[in-house]
């Protein structure tokens, strides 16, 4: 096979056995790889009603056909499982170098099933696979875990691991790789922790077979030119990383502040991408074969490491009313060390701050910890650590904002969709992004359909962020296109510059196929519908395709988006109709048959 290695590693942690299985080529072609193929395997193997933290759930680490190839950003993998946070299908994407190394070792995916009786880790050297004792690693943060495994297996090993948050089954736990790259969202790290699996070490000596080297060189050259000439991928992201969005979104009056109580942060400049570049940025930290290099590497006091990203700066910054970039960087560092999703961790602290503001959480609840008041920079750092350790009130925080607010009788104060925290864009001021949040198959998420691109950045063309007309169609296309990109093994950021035909050209050159750009997007639509089917079977109905009541009823109080609420009822029916779903948001038999979803 070309592109794919044709081999899947199945590890049963209960029985401590490993098995080599052939990749189902037909299934792989239909669902591409990564997010799509992983979801298909989940649909075929895991009852959607399963308890996500039980041994019956499975965790799939899935690469795409372009992972490990000479394509721009071709190093991504997906962690696919049932989410313990949302109850939906979860697929969390990560870059770095682990995904490519897994391909070099000869594997397309790892299926992890069951539960080890004691902590273990996997050591993969090409086709040699060992299940080893992880007792000495259990409880260690990411840097210590990675250091120990590098010492044991050599510096060239690529390492994926969970931190203490995953071990303690925090619903905000991420799976980390290459120290600070994160498959961040939906609690995938807790699923790994529930299996008593601490880490996966991989070393590979092979390479991915390419169907047509000349065609790949030609397609690569076209894509690289587009990436270099595009202002966002060629200039903006390399210079400032994602943090440059702080000022952009704030100037639009859609920068959620104090748990979405406001949408303009008066001290945005202090936590901006410009400030980050001026004060703390030490170097760029690119992923495998990435010409964009948006990754940041910062140093503050005795702390150094990857990030922070825009979403992180927002979550711990304006959403918590904090203007100290230094402390935001520290909170980001501890998230990476404990293995926590920075978006959900920061947003959960913001929800706790509002609970305290309203007198629902009492000072005594904090024990000897700092008060969680909006603007308290010390509190975001200290409570991130305690969340990671699930200590005291930190144990409540570790379950996320929905369960936290629900425990005080006010679930509506959780700024989440399907129990997953929304990221850094106030949907009241950006109509399409709000629709994308509401309909996301994994709950509150910006990268399931990044409508910020046309509504704020003007890519591929500028849409008025407040218009409702046309937004359902744009959202659907972005969601489908993204599902395909997430499955092929490339970074979503390439889509600022590349179109569907470019992805199809790369895919065809690598795999020896002849799909069109339109067929590439249709594959994404098939994946989207499959995810929806999984969620419906898991009991997550379309009645959850909504936004928190605050965003539907409470107008933004000040700033350029003053007076706005999100007009979800004006865009959702058309969205369902364009999807070929019924008025209740259920895929019709005809649509599923047309797409071949089985």
């Amino acid at each position: 096979m070309y592109g794919y290695n044709g081999k899947i590693l199945r590890v049963n942690l209960t029985a401590r056995t490993v098995k080599v299985e052939a990749l189902d080529e037909t299934k792989a072609r239909k669902y591409i790889g990564g997010r799509g193929f992983g979801t298909k395997m989940m649909m075929d193997e895991v009852d959607p009603s399963v308890d996500a933290l039980s041994p019956a759930n499975k965790l799939m680490i899935v690469t795409g056909p372009l992972t490990g190839t000479a394509t721009p950003t071709g190093g991504r993998y997906m962690a696919v499982t049932k989410s313990p946070l949302t109850g939906t299908i979860a697929s969390s994407n990560s870059g770095g170098y682990f995904g490519a190394e897994l391909k070099f070792a000869g594997w397309d995916a790892i299926i992890l099933e069951g539960k080890a009786s004691a902590p273990v880790y996997l050591n993969i050297i090409d086709d040699k696979v060992e299940i080893l004792d992880a007792a000495p690693l259990w409880g260690k943060v990411l840097s210590a875990t990675t250091d120990a495994l590098e010492q044991a297996h050599g510096g060239k090993a690529r390492i994926l691991a969970i931190g203490p948050a995953g071990e303690r089954l925090s619903l905000l736990a991420s799976i980390m790789n290459d120290r600070w790259r994160a498959a961040g969202r939906s609690g995938v790290g807790a699923v790994m922790g529930s299996k008593n699996l601490k880490a996966i070490v991989v070393k590979g000596s092979g390479k991915v077979a390419i169907a047509n080297d000349d065609a790949l060189k030609a397609a690569f050259a076209v894509c690289m030119t587009k990436i270099k000439e595009n202002g966002v991928t060629g200039t903006g992201l390399p210079a400032y990383g994602t943090a440059v969005l702080v000022n952009i979104i704030n100037e639009n009056g859609a920068f959620p502040t104090n748990n979405f109580q406001e949408s303009v942060f008066g001290k945005a400049e202090e936590i901006s991408g410009e400030a980050l570049a001026e004060k703390y940025l030490k170097k760029k930290d690119p992923c495998y074969r990435c010409p964009i290099a948006c990754g940041r590497y910062c140093e503050v006091d005795d702390i150094k490491g990857g990030g922070p990203e825009y979403e992180t700066i927002w979550a711990f910054g304006s959403d918590c009313g904090v203007s100290s970039l230094k402390d935001v960087i520290k909170a980001n560092y501890w998230c990476n060390e404990y293995g926590l999703d920075t978006i959900s961790a920061g947003a959960t602290l913001a929800a706790a701050m509002e609970l305290y503001q309203r007198g629902l959480v009492k000072k005594a609840d904090f024990g000897d910890g700092p008060e969680l008041t909006f603007g308290n920079a010390d509190a975001i750092v200290e409570w991130t650590k305690r969340m990671g350790k699930a200590e005291g009130f930190g144990a409540k925080l570790a379950l996320g904002s929905y369960r936290l607010c629900d425990s005080y009788g006010v679930p509506e104060l959780s700024m989440s969709v399907k129990k997953q925290e929304m990221p850094a864009y106030d949907p009241r001021g950006i109509v399409g992004q709000g629709l994308s949040y509401a309909t996301s198959n994994r709950g509150g998420c910006h990268v399931r359909g990044y409508m910020i691109s046309p509504e704020i950045l003007g890519l591929p063309e500028k849409l008025d962020r407040l218009d409702t007309a046309g937004k359902p169609l744009w959202t659907k296309i972005f969601q489908d296109f993204t599902a395909a990109i997430d499955s092929v093994g490339l970074c979503l950021f390439t889509s600022f510059a590349m179109g569907a035909d470019d992805y199809a050209a790369l895919y065809n050159a690598v795999c020896g196929t002849s799909i069109t750009g339109a067929e590439f997007i249709t594959s994404g639509e098939r994946i989207w519908n499959l995810e929806k089917q999984y969620n419906l079977a898991a009991g997550i109905g379309s009645n959850q395709d909504t936004l928190p009541p605050r965003l539907l009823k409470e107008p933004i109080p000040e700033g350029p988006s003053k007076g706005l609420v999100h007009p979800l009822d004006k865009v959702l029916p058309e969205y369902y109709s364009l999807r070929g779903w019924d008025a209740k948001g259920i895929p019709t038999k005809a649509k599923l048959a047309e797409l071949g979803v089985d």
Binding site: N230, G231, V232, T235, G236, L237, A239, Y240, G241, T242, A243, V244, L245, N247, I248, E251, N252, G253, E269, G273, E274, C294, Y310, E311, H446, V447, Y450, I452, S453, I456, L457, G458, L459, K462, D464, R465, L492, F493, F496, G559, P560, S561
Partner: protein
């Protein structure tokens, strides 16, 4: 009239972050860009009062104009 220009990212180089520009009544965003020596091709996001605006928009006293080069991410 006085217009407040807020510049971001690379547009700050040699210009500063916030500039109070005195312009004639009836001046447009393009006039402001000319005053600040910002080439149109370097402007990717243009907001007046936080709302999308075009280069030919006529400004009024006290307007806040936010100007970004091609940047973004997520």
């Amino acid at each position: 009239m006085t217009i407040q220009a807020r510049l971001f990212a690379t547009l700050r180089e040699g210009r500063g972050k916030v500039i109070a520009a005195e312009l004639e009544e009836g001046a447009t965003v393009a006039d402001l860009a000319a005053r600040l020596a910002i080439s149109h091709k370097d402007i990717a996001i243009l907001l007046v009062g936080g709302r999308d605006a075009a280069m030919d928009k006529i400004l009024t006293d006290g307007d806040i104009v936010s100007v970004f080069p091609p940047v973004g991410g997520g």
